[in-house]
């Protein structure tokens, strides 16, 4: 656990650098999927929501936690699915023409 704030800050700063390195290599072609995909990743806050909603006694925290789970799950599920839908459309060669639209 992150009892020592210095440890947590170390992790934060290092992962910011990793993030900048990795994300700089994503081409502008894929910037929209990058946004929706990273958006889904920010739904990781669902972890906190589950902890808040899952405690034994039903309190205000349970209510907040429940709403937070719903929001975070929309973020996660919607984000990954729509990213997949977009990425699947990027083709190197033209495929068979679609049936008009």
């Amino acid at each position: 656990m992150l009892e020592d704030p210095a440890v947590a800050l170390t992790i934060l700063v290092l992962s910011l650098f990793v993030g900048v390195e990795v994300i700089s290599k994503v081409p502008p072609l894929l910037h929209t999927p990058l946004m929706s995909g990273s958006n889904a990743i920010s739904g990781i806050t669902i972890v906190g929501a589950i902890v808040a909603a899952g405690s034994a006694e039903i309190t205000n925290s349970t209510v907040f936690g429940f709403i937070a789970i719903v929001f975070a799950t929309i973020n996660v599920v919607g984000g990954f699915l729509v990213t997949n839908r977009m990425l699947a459309m990027f083709k190197k060669k033209p495929t068979t023409p679609r049936e008009g639209s």
Binding site: L12, G19, G65, G78
Partner: protein, 462 residues
């Protein structure tokens, strides 16, 4: 599961996220990357369900079921042209979740009769602040993009003072709660104030600046998750949140650079400005001859190379499939067709690429500004479709122009420029575009979709 194992599972999840984003570096590996990231999320969720203290499964699973259903429907129903709204909405939900978790944690401490330490209480405050601003700010961005409210900046006298006072008040409350987390009332005031602040800071930002706003809110949603990580002492959340934070910040910078504006100017540019209509006397009255789709077809008939420049107008007219149709006809005639994508074309980073990919146009044909700009000089026809400011030569030539210095696509260097446009109305920036009056420019007035199809039909007959 032991706490150590659970922390390791979070680490594994974070590694999946990093590998997943790394795979986004190429369209060939991107689908796999997204899947890897999704697996990472699944690992994190399962680990959380196995955490000691998480026992109320009906509540948790009910929340997950509702959220999954809503998320799935959204993801499959949404039109590709509406992707900016979708991302704005998802950003907002992420922010809301983080803010709610921060509140739930503070209440849990209070119930247990404990006080969080300084790090945790600071994180609780930041989680509420960033999360709430992200939530309402994103909802306003969504409403503007969805045209539920007008895209024009909303400004009023004293706006800066109101926002400044609110910000100072929120900072004061933040410091107060961070130092003394037993101040629950102050916490709620801070929470509500942040919700209001989110609304107030986005309403003065115009529709065309939305790429910056969405990128920035994307970054905030990551930082809010990061704060949640500090609240819970969970390094997995800190890593994942900061990845998203970095991503949003990089995109924000790219968008600002592509408009040659500072972030401060985008965020606060509309403040304190008297609404300044273009002084009518200064714009010399020039007339433009309108051509038809048939005229345009004749131009294409003798061309060997074509570069198409799409803009937001293409998205509005849903013209991407019509362009694909035109491209097929040009291809059949052996004409080389490529696309030039300006970084801020559309309402979010990369929006044009997604629309063209949707229309089954191979991504190799989609070129970035720096790659394609040297090519215009050797191109027979540049077709501008629903783009305006990003092809305005005033940005290059007229030092007095508000967009002077903004990097543009040099379409005017092509032998012939074809501009498909609804009317002579100036673009969002309200700036006259000298491109339209150049000798090598032909204006074709009409709906982007109908006109593109019209040109394709006329070409088939030639």
């Amino acid at each position: 599961m032991s706490p150590t194992l659970i922390q390791l599972a979070y680490l594994l999840a974070a590694v999946c996220f990093i590998l997943g984003i790394r795979d986004l570096s190429s369209p060939r590996t991107a689908v796999r990357g997204n899947a890897i990231a999704a697996v990472g999320m699944l690992i994190a969720i399962v680990a959380t369900l196995l955490t000691r203290g998480v026992v109320n499964f009906p509540v948790v699973l009910a929340g997950v079921a509702v959220g999954s259903a809503a998320g799935t429907i959204l993801a499959f129903r949404i039109q590709m042209t509406a992707m900016p709204q979708m991302v704005a909405l998802l950003n907002g939900f992420g922010g809301a979740a983080s803010a709610l978790v921060s509140a739930a944690e503070l209440l849990r401490y209070e119930r247990a009769g404990e006080l969080p330490n300084a790090t945790v209480s600071t994180a609780i405050v930041l989680g509420a602040l960033i999360g709430a601003v992200t939530f309402t700010g994103s909802l306003i961005a969504f409403a503007k993009l969805q045209e539920l409210m007008r895209g024009r900046p909303i400004t009023y006298r004293g706006q800066q003072i109101v926002n400044g006072l609110l910000a100072i008040g929120i900072i004061g409350l933040s410091v107060m709660v961070a130092m003394d987390p037993s101040q629950i009332t102050a916490y709620w005031a801070l929470f509500v104030g942040s919700l209001v602040l989110g609304v107030l800071i986005v309403i003065p930002i115009g529709g065309a600046d939305m790429p910056v706003v969405i990128s920035l809110l994307n970054s905030y949603s990551g930082l809010a998750a990061c704060a949640t990580g500090f609240v819970l002492g969970n390094s997995g959340l800190v890593i994942s949140g900061s990845l998203v934070g970095a991503s949003g910040l990089i995109l924000t910078k790219i968008m600002c650079d592509a408009m040659n504006r500072s972030l401060t100017n985008v965020l606060f540019g509309a403040f304190g400005q008297a609404p300044a209509p273009t002084p009518a006397g200064q714009v010399e009255q020039r007339t433009v001859r309108g051509y038809t789709a048939d005229d345009a077809a004749i131009v294409f008939n003798s061309a060997r190379s074509v570069i198409i420049v799409p803009g937001y107008g293409m998205a509005v007219a849903q013209a991407q499939h019509a362009i694909r149709e035109l491209m097929t006809v040009l291809d059949a005639r052996g004409i080389d067709v490529r696309f030039a994508i300006h970084p801020v074309a559309g309402r979010m980073p990369g929006h044009m690429n997604v629309l063209l990919a949707e229309a089954n146009i191979p991504y190799e044909k989609l070129l970035e500004m720096d790659q394609i700009n040297p090519e215009f000089g050797e191109t027979d026809v540049a077709l501008v479709l629903g783009a305006n400011d990003v092809v305005n030569p005033a940005a290059r030539e007229e030092e007095g122009s508000p967009i002077y210095g903004m990097p543009i696509l040099d379409v005017d260097r092509a032998a012939q420029v074809l501009v498909i446009k609804r009317s002579m109305n100036p673009g969002f920036a309200g700036i006259d575009n000298p491109l339209f009056y150049k000798d090598n420019t032909m204006m074709v007035f009409g709906d982007a979709k109908a006109t593109a199809l019209g040109i394709a039909e006329a070409l088939k007959e030639l």
